[in-house]
């Protein structure tokens, strides 16, 4: 028997899936092992202050622990975001309240929850490692869930009317409607917001793996604590190992999870005509062609999907009788009263507590708020000064963009909190203090938002406009005034809003630091929140948190909202 001439390529085509299948099984095995290890450790006896090794050999384990925390927190966020968005979109009476709540919760500095959450979780599971772990997970969760919830909510609200009517007229069951209309419609928004959220999650994870709470010293084994410990000891090789591991993990997640997800979510675009320029992902391509994956899909996903989407009975929905309506009303009223009572009681308690404040506390808090406010502005200005010209240059030049974007993306994806100890080390060696140093720390987190938005804005400026500027021989100043700045304005506003939010949050970790056995601190609202956390001064913590949340909300209302409106009306690029 002889092979046809094309046999080589045929064999290649056949062997590749085999390799992929093997890889898939490997991944499954590894995942099972990882889960078992983690569970064993979580269920183990509590060791709140783990001894963090500085050996690079400990890094894979630490990376795993950090990763598991992230994964669990992310999955929790996803489920919660979808449920929250769903209720907010469909419950007319709750909608206004829930959306306003989202707005406020997004503005509250997450890290000021840290003490409360930790103590609660530890007392919930006093004998298991689970408690401390859950604390850090809940913190990451509160940091990443809100924008995902908002994304899903606004997706649901923007489903085209005729698609909804199609689902109505063909009488989809609630499950079919959810799985074949609502969830697919929200997928793209959810994926992009997940990426942003997880990046934010790393930021908090790094901060909350190692912290002091009164006389408790919490240290969770993970990448964040490794880096802090390495920097604290001034161990440069260990710092480099830690950063390397961090970057490796982030790049791997990007390649193995986000890129395939983005490529996959392309099919959920609401476009009627196929467009070019889709993201490609070799990993997704391999997965789609792996027969092991197909086998698993046929036996698990497909039957489950069939079960959920196919209606069990097709009868006209009975209208709720008068009795049931009455019951539902009663339940709703009871729920409302209960919620109102809880809110009122807590507000009253908080108010009572605040009455114990001394005048000096208030004046110091206000002074600190002013200092942090100035720092936030300074960090935004510095970001603007370098990121706007750089972003425009990159955006206008596709060749530079191809080179610079991946580098900038990796640089941006390293959480600022992971870099803090390293930067601090440099500051200490240079003899600088935190007063100015904290601005640099805030800058680490905020500048990327501005850079990326400016790049996107510059790329969105139609080339005809730039050509017109060339033809009319605009001066450099004129070019910036009439073409570039108005063109990138909406993107710039978006970048600034995100960056200022990030800067406020970063102030909590940037203005107060345990370092090399000392406490480095400076006057600021963030420092006050951290030190109140340290010393267990709940009163001051509450006051500073409230002040910070109020500041953020006020700035949003007075500055960013009007700018957004301006961007939407005057500076919109329309065809």
């Amino acid at each position: 028997m002889s092979f046809p001439p094309l046999s080589r390529s045929l064999i290649r085509a056949r062997t590749w899936p085999l390799v992929v299948d093997a890889a898939v099984f490997g991944v499954v095995l590894a995942a099972i092992y990882a889960i078992l290890t983690t569970v064993h450790y979580w269920m183990g006896v509590v060791t709140p202050a783990a001894n963090i090794s500085r050996s690079p050999r400990a890094l894979p384990g630490y990376a795993l622990y950090s990763l598991v925390r992230m994964t669990v927190a992310y999955l929790l966020s996803l489920v919660f975001a979808v449920a929250y968005g769903y209720v907010a979109a469909y419950h007319k009476r709750l909608e206004t309240v829930m959306v306003a709540l989202l707005d406020i919760l997004q503005s509250i500095p997450v890290l000021s929850f840290l003490p409360g959450v930790m103590l609660a979780m530890v007392s919930l599971f006093p004998t298991r490692q689970l408690g401390v772990e859950l604390g850090s997970i809940v913190l990451i969760f509160t940091g990443q869930v809100w924008n995902m919830a908002f994304s899903f909510y606004s997706s649901l609200k923007s489903i085209p009317r005729e698609l909804r009517e199609a689902a109505d007229i063909y009488r989809f069951s609630p499950w079919q409607r959810f799985l074949e209309l609502e969830l697919p419609f929200g997928v793209i928004g959810l994926v992009w917001n997940s990426i942003v959220s997880v990046a934010g999650g790393w930021f908090f994870l790094m901060a909350c793996e190692m912290f002091v709470l009164g006389n408790h010293d919490f240290r969770l084994p993970g990448l964040g604590s490794y880096l802090q410990r390495a920097a604290g000891a001034g161990d440069t090789p260990a710092i480099l190992w830690g950063l390397g591991a961090m970057i490796a993990v982030i790049v791997l997640i990007d390649q193995l999870i986000w890129r395939p997800l983005i490529a996959w979510s392309d099919r959920f675009k609401m476009e009627q005509v196929e467009s070019g320029g889709a993201v490609s992902s070799p990993i997704l391509h391999l997965l789609r062609n792996a027969s092991a994956v197909k086998w698993i899909e046929r036996r698990t996903l497909q039957p489950a999907w069939e079960r959920l989407t196919v209606a069990r009975s097709f009868a006209p929905r009975p209208a709720p009788g008068p009795r049931r309506i009455w019951l539902v009303r009663l339940a709703q009223a009871a729920g409302l009263v209960l919620v109102a009572a809880v809110v009122l009681y807590s507000a009253w308690q908080a108010f009572e507590m605040m009455r114990g404040l001394r005048g000096t506390d208030v004046s110091i808090t206000l002074e600190a708020a002013g200092a942090t406010f100035l720092r936030v502005i300074a960090s935004l200005l510095i970001s603007l000064v370098w990121a706007v010209p750089a972003g425009v240059a990159i955006g206008f030049n596709p060749r530079v963009a191809r080179l610079a974007q991946p580098i900038a993306q990796i640089a941006a994806s390293v959480p600022a909190t992971a870099l803090f100890p390293v930067v601090l080390l440099g500051l200490v060696r240079l003899g600088g203090g935190l007063g100015v140093g904290s601005i640099i720390l805030m800058l680490l987190g905020t500048q990327w938002y501005i850079l990326f938005n400016v790049i996107a804005g510059a790329m969105a400026i139609p080339s005809e406009l730039r050509e017109a500027a060339d033809v009319f021989r605009f001066t450099r100043l004129q070019r910036w005034q009439t073409v570039i700045l108005p063109g990138i304005f909406p993107y710039l506003v978006t970048g600034l809003v995100t960056a200022s939010g990030g800067a406020w949050n970063a102030s909590i970790v940037a203005e107060y630091f345990h370092f090399q056995g000392k406490i480095m601190t400076t006057l600021g609202l963030g420092a006050q929140i951290s030190s109140a956390t340290d010393s267990g001064n709940t009163l001051l913590l509450l006051l500073s948190t409230v002040v910070m949340a109020m500041l953020v909300v006020t700035v949003n209302r007075l500055v960013w909202k009007p700018l957004y409106r301006l961007a939407e009306t005057r500076y919109r690029l329309e065809g």
Partner: protein
């Protein structure tokens, strides 16, 4: 009149209005309408006459503000038990394949997998989509997409097939082709459907397809005429009876105040509701440029032209032409009689003038004939700083129109005011103002 069979769906004194009780805006005036088995019923009307609203009430998607919807004589709550809709925008689920799109309604009915597959393949075959089962909607052309829309609608064997302007998103040839195939299915009884209800703004489409045509008027939506077309199929556009029917509908549509006399060939099953007068004159949504273009064309053609032929010449849909004609007639530039437009002396002057002179003529015509324009100029002139916020005029309009329509009224008024150089509006502050050079002395009356 012969005894009519029992209707499948019947509207009794159905009304629809929006807004609070004391200031409600009527979208549909009390209307009786029934869908009988065996007929194709076409609903025609200008935009804003509540065509889509009536379709949604009939299919049970939306509930009327008052009145009754009967399904086989029984009152209905929620979507009708067995109807389908073919949508203008196709409304296919872009993330599902052609096959999954067609299977989706069957899943909702709990049909098991193999049975779903059998029925879907059969229906895809009959609409000519063989071999496209695994394609995604975005890979298909507009005509193919609407075929999927038909397949999805027919696969559940609906008693009534509703169609909401199903061909208006397609190009002329594709639409003609699909209409032909639809008629073939219907005439050959290959469609498991007892009645078809089609909403359209294309008069020829209605005459080509329908056994019965209902023409709606606007402000509020109401039935103006309801008649049968007894031309045998296939109907030819060159047929004299075809032409007469089209012409009759044109006459009704272009003369909002006419109480139509039944067409000679037609027989009206129900008396048309008396025309209710609108309280506040509505600005037709036409741009000054469009009005000028129409008048030039009319002047070139000797001053008088059939609207029906004009629409053809310009390749415009009725919905696009009518507002321009209405606007020109509101400004006193032309008059409409018996489905033909005739230019007035004022109109001739406008058509033959240069750019600046045109603006002046437009300014005079708009400030003397158009209530809203006059109101805005007067209000602005009476303010010392010659500016007023949007809300001022929104409040005024909201008493007469829906919120959406008020916004459109203001948009159109701004176009007209800018062209006439009477007033302008700053989009970022949302304020109306009188441009510097034309600002009159405070309190002075403007041309009126």
């Amino acid at each position: 009149m012969t005894q009519l069979p029992e209707p499948i769906i019947e509207l009794r004194a159905v009304e629809k209005f929006y807004g609070p009780a004391e200031a409600r805006i009527q979208v549909v005036a009390p209307t009786d309408l029934a869908v009988y088995p065996g007929e194709i019923l076409a609903l025609l009307g200008p935009s804003g006459s509540g065509k889509s609203t009536l379709l949604r009430i009939l299919s049970g998607l939306s509930t009327p503000s008052s009145g009754q919807v009967l399904w086989h004589g029984h009152p209905l709550a929620g979507p009708c038990p067995n109807v389908s809709i073919v949508f203008q925008s196709f409304a296919l689920f872009p993330w599902l394949t052609v096959m999954d799109n067609v299977e989706a309604p069957l899943k909702a009915r709990g049909v098991p997998a193999h049975e779903r597959m059998r029925r879907s393949l059969k229906i895809l075959d009959s609409v000519g989509l063989d071999g496209f089962e695994t394609a995604f909607p975005k890979e298909l052309s507009g005509g193919m997409k609407q075929r999927v829309g038909f397949a999805r609608a027919l696969v559940v064997e609906p008693e009534v097939l509703f169609m909401d302007e199903p061909f208006s998103a397609l190009d002329v040839l594709t639409a003609e082709n699909l209409r032909g195939e639809l008629m073939e299915l219907w005439q050959g009884k290959k469609m498991p459907t007892r009645a078809v209800f089609i909403v359209t703004h294309n008069i020829e489409e209605a005459v080509q397809l329908a056994d019965r045509v209902v023409v709606l008027g606007k402000n509020p939506g109401r039935i103006r005429t309801d008649f049968r077309i007894r031309i045998p199929h296939p109907r030819e556009h060159l047929d004299l009876r075809f032409h007469e029917a089209v012409d009759y509908i044109y006459r009704v549509l272009t003369q909002p105040d006419l109480v139509p006399t039944p067409q000679p060939e037609a027989e009206a099953p129900a008396a048309a509701a008396p025309a209710a007068r609108a309280k506040y004159p509505m600005l037709p949504h036409a741009r000054p440029g469009g009005i000028a273009g129409l008048l030039e064309l009319l002047n070139d053609r000797g001053g008088r032209h059939d609207l029906y032929r004009m629409a053809d010449d310009l390749a415009l849909e009725l919905d696009d032409l009518l507002p321009i004609v209405e606007a020109a007639s509101l400004l006193g530039f032309l008059t409409v009689q018996e489905g033909a437009a005739e230019i007035t002396p004022e109109g001739i002057r406008f058509a033959e003038a240069g750019i600046l002179r045109r603006k002046e003529l437009f300014k005079v015509a708009a400030s003397s004939h158009v209530t809203l324009i006059r109101q805005i100029t007067r209000a602005l002139a009476s303010k010392a700083d010659h500016t007023l916020p949007d809300e001022f005029f929104r409040d005024l309009l909201d008493e007469h129109f829906s919120e959406e329509e008020s916004v459109r009224q203001i948009e159109t008024a701004v176009h007209w005011g800018r062209y006439a150089e009477l007033f302008d509006r700053d989009a970022s502050t949302g304020r109306f103002f009188i441009p510097e050079e034309t600002a009159p002395a405070s309190g002075e009356e403007f041309a009126g």
